[in-house]
C-alpha cells in the first residue's frame, strides 16, 4: 500500500501544486512576518524586497494596500469595534465612544507599552448579535456602552 504524505498547508513553500507559482507571494510573506512579529516595520521593506527578489515599491505597495497589515507595533490587546451596517443600525457609534473613553483613560499608564489599540473595522459577520466588539480573538455580541468597562477590564 502506498501511503500518501499529509497535506502541507499554509507553508509558503509547501504547496503541492504541480507547478508552483514562479513569482514570490508578497502578501503571504508580509502576513507571515506580521504573525511572528506583530507588525511589519517600514524600514524592513528593503530587506524583504531584496530577499524576495522584487522591488521595494512592490513590497511597499502591498504593505500599504491591505488594512490588516500594520507598520507599527499594536498595544497588548487589539480592540475592534465593528462598523458594519447591522452594527450601525444598532447605533454602534455610542459603543465606539464608550470604548474610546474607557481606553483613553487606561492607555496613559506611565512607562508601559500601550494596553489597548482601538480600531474601527468593517463587518465581522456577527450581525445577528450587533453591536459587535472583538478583543484579540474573542468576539463579543450585544455590546452596550454600559458594559464596555466589564468587557475590557480583564484584558490587562
Amino acid at each position: 500500500m502506498i501511503t500518501r504524505p499529509p497535506l502541507a498547508m499554509m507553508e509558503p513553500s509547501g504547496s503541492r501544486s504541480a507547478k508552483p507559482p514562479a513569482k514570490p507571494n508578497i502578501l503571504k510573506t508580509l502576513l507571515t512576518i506580521q504573525q511572528a512579529n506583530g507588525h511589519v516595520p517600514i524600514d524592513s521593506v528593503p530587506h524583504i524586497a531584496h530577499s524576495l527578489g522584487v522591488t521595494e515599491a512592490d513590497v511597499a505597495g502591498v504593505l500599504s494596500y491591505y488594512p490588516d497589515l500594520r507598520t507599527n507595533a499594536p498595544g497588548r490587546h487589539v480592540v475592534r469595534v465593528c462598523m458594519g451596517e447591522s452594527c450601525i443600525a444598532n447605533h454602534c457609534d455610542r459603543v465606539l465612544q464608550a470604548v474610546d473613553e474607557y481606553v483613553g483613560h487606561l492607555n496613559c499608564e506611565p512607562g508601559r507599552a500601550l494596553r489597548y489599540t482601538v480600531e474601527k473595522t468593517s463587518c465581522m459577520g456577527n450581525c445577528a448579535l450587533s453591536p459587535t466588539v472583538s478583543i484579540d480573538d474573542d468576539v463579543h455580541g450585544r455590546v452596550t456602552p454600559g458594559n464596555i468597562a466589564t468587557l475590557l477590564e480583564p484584558y490587562r
Binding site: 502578501l27 508580509l30 494596500y65 497589515l69 443600525a89 468593517s122 459577520g125 450581525c127 445577528a128 459587535t132
Partner: protein, 497 residues
C-alpha cells in the same frame, strides 16, 4: 448516575452570545456530556441548549447560568418543531445546522454527506454540467451568473492546470452564511469543491478566507486534513489538495479578479474582463471562482437531481436562499427559504417585527452596496429578477433594518466613505467619484451644501454606475441615491437658506 447529553453551538456568534461560559460550567459536571454543534442560525435564541426528547430535540433558549439546574432536571424544554422561526424554513444547504458536530465526518456521511460526490463520480463531466443546467443554479455570491456556464467554460478550456478558488471573503456587511458553513458544515463545502474538480479537471483548490474569520479558517483547515486522512481528496486517481489562504482586510478582494490578484500575493486590484477567470484566472490558468454558499449548494443538486433544485423558487431564481436578517429587528438570524416570499413577509414572519422601542425606517438588502427600501416598497419578492428590475441587488442575502433614529444623510455619507476607503484605485470613476461624492455629502452634512450638490451627486452616481470597472464603483451610488430618493426631505432640510 444518568448522564445528560446536551447540545450547544460552537459557532462564533453563539460564543459571542455567551456559549463558552455555559460550556465551561457544563464541562465541569460529571453528569453532563456536552456536544458542541453548529448553530441553527436562530441567533436571537442564543445561547441555546438542546437535549434529546421523545420526538426530537428539546430546546432551552437564551440560557443563563441560573437556568442550568432546571435544564438538567429536564424542566421547561420546548420541542424544536414548535419554534415557528425554524419550522417555517426549507432547509437544504443548512439541513445539518444545529444537529451535527462540524468536524464529525461520520455524522456528515450518516446524514447523506458525499452522496452528491458519489453520484458525480459515476457521471461524465458533461452530464454533471447538464445536471447543473437543469438545476438552474445561479452563483450565490452576488452576480447570480449561471453556475453551469462557468463550469462548462472551464471544463472546455484546454490547459495542463486548472484551479478552483473558493471565495470565502464574505465582506458584505450583514452577511455571515459563508462563515456559518465554514465553521458549521465544512465537509459540504469540500464535497462541492471535489465535484467541481472532477467536472472541470482541476488540479488544485484554494479557499481564500477573510482574516476576520479565524475560527472559520481553523475549522475548514482541520476538515481538509480529516478528509485527506480518510482518503477523500482523490479525484480521478489524483490527489486533489485544497489550501486555505488568509486575506488581509480588503473589501474589494471579494471581487473575483481582485481576489485572484491577492491570492497571487499582490495588491487586490481589479482586472479588466474579459478574459474571464474560467478561461484565464489564477496564474493565468482556467479557474472556477465561486463563493462558499455556491459550492455548498452543489452536493444536494447531484444527490437529489437538478430537477429537485429547479422545483423550488421562482421562474428565474431556483432553489433556496439563506437570508441573514439583522439590524433593528426582534429576531435576527439566518433563514433558508425558497425564493419568492416578499421582503415584507420575511421581515414579519421571521424578523418578528422591530426590536423593542424601535420604529421602522428603512431596510437595506445586499450589503453596503445594496439599495434602501422604505416601508412603501416592501412588497418586492425575494428573487434576482424583481430586485434587478428595481435597480436593487439581493447580493449575498443580507438584510439590515434601520430604525427611525438613523440619520439618512450621515448613513449616505458612511456608504460613500466606505467605497472611497475600499476602492482599489484601478478605475477613475470609482477612485475619484467616491471621494468627490463623500466630500459633497460631508458638505451637506455640515450644512454647507446646495441644490447643485444634489444634482452633482446624481451626475457622479450615473457616471460611476455606467463606467466603473467592477460592482464596487458600479453599485456604490445605489444606497446613496435611494436614500436621497426616499428620504429627500432629510437632505434638503440641511441645505442652507
Amino acid at each position: 448516575m444518568t448522564i445528560a447529553r446536551l447540545y450547544l453551538s460552537n459557532d462564533t456568534s453563539s460564543k459571542a452570545a455567551g456559549a463558552d461560559r455555559l460550556a465551561e460550567l457544563l464541562e465541569a459536571r460529571p453528569d453532563v456530556q456536552l456536544v458542541r454543534t453548529s448553530s441553527r442560525g436562530a441567533f436571537y435564541l442564543e445561547p441555546m441548549i438542546e437535549r434529546d426528547g421523545p420526538n426530537g430535540r428539546l430546546v432551552w433558549p437564551r440560557v443563563t447560568a441560573g437556568d442550568l439546574t432546571s435544564l438538567l432536571e429536564g424542566r421547561g424544554g420546548k420541542p424544536i418543531d414548535e419554534i415557528p422561526y425554524l419550522a417555517q424554513q426549507t432547509r437544504a444547504t443548512f439541513s445539518n445546522f444545529g444537529i451535527t458536530e462540524p468536524l464529525a465526518l461520520d455524522e456528515y456521511q450518516a446524514r447523506g454527506g458525499f452522496k452528491g460526490l458519489e453520484a458525480a463520480m459515476a457521471l461524465a463531466p458533461e452530464s454533471i454540467v447538464q445536471e447543473l443546467r437543469i438545476s438552474q443554479l445561479r452563483g450565490r455570491g452576488g452576480a447570480a451568473f449561471p453556475v453551469w456556464n462557468k463550469w462548462e467554460a472551464a471544463r472546455q478550456a484546454d490547459a495542463e492546470e486548472k484551479y478552483i478558488v473558493v471565495n470565502a471573503d464574505e465582506g458584505d456587511a450583514g452577511t455571515y452564511c459563508d462563515r456559518m458553513i465554514l465553521e458549521g458544515d465544512p465537509f459540504r463545502l469540500i464535497e462541492g469543491v471535489l465535484i467541481c474538480a472532477h467536472t472541470i479537471g482541476a488540479t488544485k483548490g484554494y479557499i481564500y478566507c477573510r482574516q476576520e474569520y479565524p475560527a472559520a479558517a481553523r475549522t475548514v483547515r482541520t476538515a481538509i486534513q480529516k478528509a485527506d486522512e480518510a482518503e477523500l481528496l482523490e479525484v480521478d486517481g489524483r490527489t486533489f489538495s485544497i489550501e486555505v489562504i488568509s486575506g488581509a482586510g480588503s473589501y474589494v478582494c471579494g471581487e473575483e479578479t481582485a481576489l485572484l490578484e491577492s491570492l497571487e500575493g499582490r495588491r487586490g486590484v481589479v482586472r479588466a474582463k474579459p478574459p474571464y477567470p474560467a478561461v484565464s484566472g489564477l496564474f493565468g490558468r482556467p479557474t472556477v471562482v465561486s463563493n462558499v454558499l455556491t459550492f455548498a449548494t452543489v452536493p444536494n443538486i447531484l444527490a437529489r437531481g437538478g430537477a429537485w433544485h429547479a422545483s423550488l423558487g421562482t421562474e428565474r431564481s431556483r432553489g433556496t436562499i439563506p437570508l441573514q436578517i439583522g439590524g433593528r429587528v426582534k429576531q435576527p438570524g439566518l433563514v433558508e427559504i425558497p425564493f419568492g416570499m416578499t421582503l415584507r413577509q420575511v421581515l414579519e414572519k421571521f424578523g418578528g417585527g422591530m426590536a423593542d422601542g424601535a420604529t421602522f425606517k428603512a431596510v437595506q438588502v445586499g450589503g453596503p452596496l445594496g439599495s434602501l427600501f422604505p416601508e412603501s416598497r416592501l412588497d418586492i419578492p425575494i428573487c434576482y429578477d424583481a430586485f434587478s428590475d428595481a435597480g436593487a441587488i439581493l447580493g449575498h442575502g443580507g438584510i439590515v433594518v434601520y430604525d427611525d433614529r438613523t440619520e439618512m444623510v450621515a448613513l449616505a455619507r458612511h456608504f460613500m466613505a466606505f467605497t472611497a476607503e475600499e476602492s482599489c484605485g484601478k478605475c477613475t470613476p470609482c477612485r475619484i467619484g467616491s471621494v468627490r461624492a463623500r466630500e459633497v455629502l460631508d458638505a451637506i452634512l455640515g450644512g454647507r451644501g446646495s441644490q447643485e450638490d444634489l444634482a452633482l451627486l446624481a451626475d457622479l452616481g450615473d457616471t460611476m454606475k455606467a463606467t466603473s470597472l467592477c460592482a464596487l464603483g458600479g453599485r456604490a451610488p445605489y444606497p446613496v441615491m435611494t436614500a436621497i430618493e426616499h428620504f429627500s426631505e432629510e437632505f434638503t432640510r440641511r441645505l442652507p437658506g
